[in-house]
């Protein structure tokens, strides 16, 4: 199941930096999961290690890779990580992160933000 997709993935593309990055991060996960399945804390530590060198922006690529590979545990893990990373961030930061643009009518966005201005308190500086 998973292995077919992975093989096809590698067949699609020659070795390059991006694929390597994904390979070192995503692929080892299933094995590790099996080894330390019972122990959540250990898994958490392993996950922290793995992501220490990955920039938040890289995470979107990892998420797309995990999604493409239909790899639920990795997707869960990456989503959790992104959630923690963006929790206190501003709207602008999140837009850049996900590559989105505001499509509100002029004034519409302001009105919305004003409605729940309290949710903007304590946001990290960009």
């Amino acid at each position: 199941m998973k292995f077919c997709t992975v093989k096809q993935y590698f067949d699609d593309e020659n070795n390059n930096n991006v694929t390597n990055g994904i390979a070192t991060t995503v692929i080892p996960l299933p094995n590790k999961h099996l080894k330390i399945k019972a122990n959540n804390k250990e898994m958490e530590q392993y996950e922290q290690e793995l992501l220490r060198n990955v920039m938040p922006q890289e995470l979107t690529k990892l998420i797309l890779a995990a999604n493409y590979l239909n790899f639920k545990e990795a997707l869960d893990f990456f989503c959790r990580t992104v959630a923690n990373a963006i929790q206190n961030k501003s709207v602008d930061y999140v837009r850049k992160f996900f590559g989105l643009e505001s499509d509100f009518e002029p004034g519409e966005e302001e009105k919305l933000c004003k409605e729940f201005a309290w949710s903007f308190e304590g946001v990290d500086e960009d």
């Binding site: 991006v18 998420i63 997707l75 709207v91 999140v94 996900f98 505001s102 509100f104 933000c113």
Partner: protein
């Protein structure tokens, strides 16, 4: 379109110009966030705003939070609420924090307290907190017939949104008790009002009921039909129902046949699935009218997920300057719901004098208000107010002074987005 060198080196699925995370994955991420950032990110773009305010996302977000908190010993769910009444509000407005807040005491150790500002247009004076489900509170004001109006609100403090329920009343009846329930299969919230006749024109004292459903945003009259010739004559004033096993429960008096003398107490139940009332007998000889020689408090509660009947019998012995009170607290638990033989006397303990009972925590601690006895010239600290709120473990008799103001209710609370999809503010 010319591909850049960089793009050519990417695997096919990343080579598309739009390498954006699809909306369903974005929602997967958003559903893991606390309420505050979720609300803020409504401003990211239109599709995020409409997705976040969609009932499906609200449910997913709620389920996510429920699952993460399930086994945690240090989970964030609160237990106790204090809603300020109009007198306290005046006090607050003259102090530095001028806005009235609803206080929630959090977690098992009652050490963390969170405060939630009450919206200025949520007009309520003496609020009874009827219940709480999924972060949604039901507030009731019974009114005094003159200055304070009757009103019911559904309020989600974490998103600062409320909904006033449509007005309803029965002429010649007084609204005496309420219940708030959640129907999980239909994802619907219900409020039940119980009325007692106020007019003498009503020959036989018999209570009436109305049920509100959030999904239909309307009230319906519901008849209470128990066994033949049995009618519910009285309900405990201002009581809020205990919700267990998919039903609401109140302590009521019934009269059988034409003979008024045979006034008994039973538990009135309301099943939120079929909207039908039923009855459950009290344990032992508790249905019979009690003699007035002993001050005796009877309460329904939910004890570790089961329906419980808790009584406090106070006996006051007055000596010279010391006033020593004690009471016998008996906790009956219905081990098998609906089966009267399964009433089990779980505890019978002697406590200091108990003034009021607020409910049980999910771990089986009782939340009570105790009268504080003080001694002249003793080493005890002299308290300025004469009552203390404690959590009491009936097994170990260990007490913890909670250091909180007079609470309204003991119930669980969590953050959620519930009613975000409802129309704004006032209704009806």
């Amino acid at each position: 379109m010319q591909e850049t060198v960089e793009q050519r080196s990417l695997p096919p699925f990343l080579r598309r110009r739009n390498t954006n995370v699809p909306i369903d994955i974005a929602l997967n991420i958003l559903a893991r966030l606390p309420v505050k950032p979720v609300m803020r990110f409504r401003c990211v773009c239109k599709s995020w705003d409409s997705s976040i305010t969609n009932p499906n996302f609200i449910s997913t977000h709620l389920n996510n939070n429920n699952n993460t908190n399930k086994d945690d010993d240090d989970d964030d769910r609160g237990y106790l609420f204090h809603m300020p009444n109009v007198i306290t509000r005046t006090m607050y407005s003259s102090s530095s924090s001028s806005n009235p807040v609803c206080t929630v005491v959090c977690d098992r150790t009652f050490n963390r307290i969170s405060e939630h500002p009450i919206p200025s247009d949520l007009l309520i004076n003496f609020a009874e907190i009827v219940g709480s489900f999924n972060g949604l509170l039901c507030l009731a004001e019974y009114g005094n017939g003159a200055t304070y109006d009757e009103v019911i609100y559904l309020w989600n403090p974490s998103i600062r949104k409320f909904k006033r329920l449509p007005r309803t009343w029965l002429s010649q009846y007084d609204w005496d008790a309420t219940g708030f329930a959640y129907h999980s299969e239909r994802d619907d919230y219900k409020v039940v009002k119980i009325y007692s006749p106020s007019s003498n024109r009503i020959k036989r004292p018999e209570v009436e009921a109305e049920v509100y459903s959030l999904s239909s945003d309307s009230w319906t009259r519901v008849g209470i039909s128990l066994r033949p010739n049995v009618v519910v004559s009285k309900v405990k004033d201002y009581s809020s129902a205990s919700f267990v096993n998919g039903a609401l429960h109140w302590l009521v008096s019934v009269s059988e046949g034409e003979v008024e003398v045979r006034n008994r107490k039973i538990i009135l139940s309301f099943d939120v699935d079929d909207d039908k009332f039923g009855e459950i007998a009290l344990p032992g000889g508790h249905g019979l009218k009690r003699l007035r020689s002993e001050r005796f408090k009877e309460n329904l509660a939910v004890f570790k997920g089961k329906l419980a009947f808790i009584t406090f019998g106070n006996r006051e012995i007055v000596y010279f300057r010391d006033s020593v009170g004690s009471c016998q607290c008996v906790i009956w638990v219905m081990e098998e719901y609906g089966v009267c033989e399964s009433w089990n006397k779980l505890f019978s303990v002697r406590l200091g004098e108990v003034e009021s009972f607020f409910g049980c925590t999910r771990f089986g601690e009782l939340l009570v208000q105790k009268a504080f006895k003080f001694k002249y010239g003793g080493s005890d600290v002299l308290r300025l107010n004469n009552c203390v709120i404690v959590s009491l473990d009936p097994e170990t008799l260990h007490e913890k002074d909670l250091g909180v103001q007079l609470p309204n209710i003991a119930t669980t609370f969590e953050e959620s987005l519930v009613i975000l999809d409802q129309a704004d503010g006032l209704s009806g």
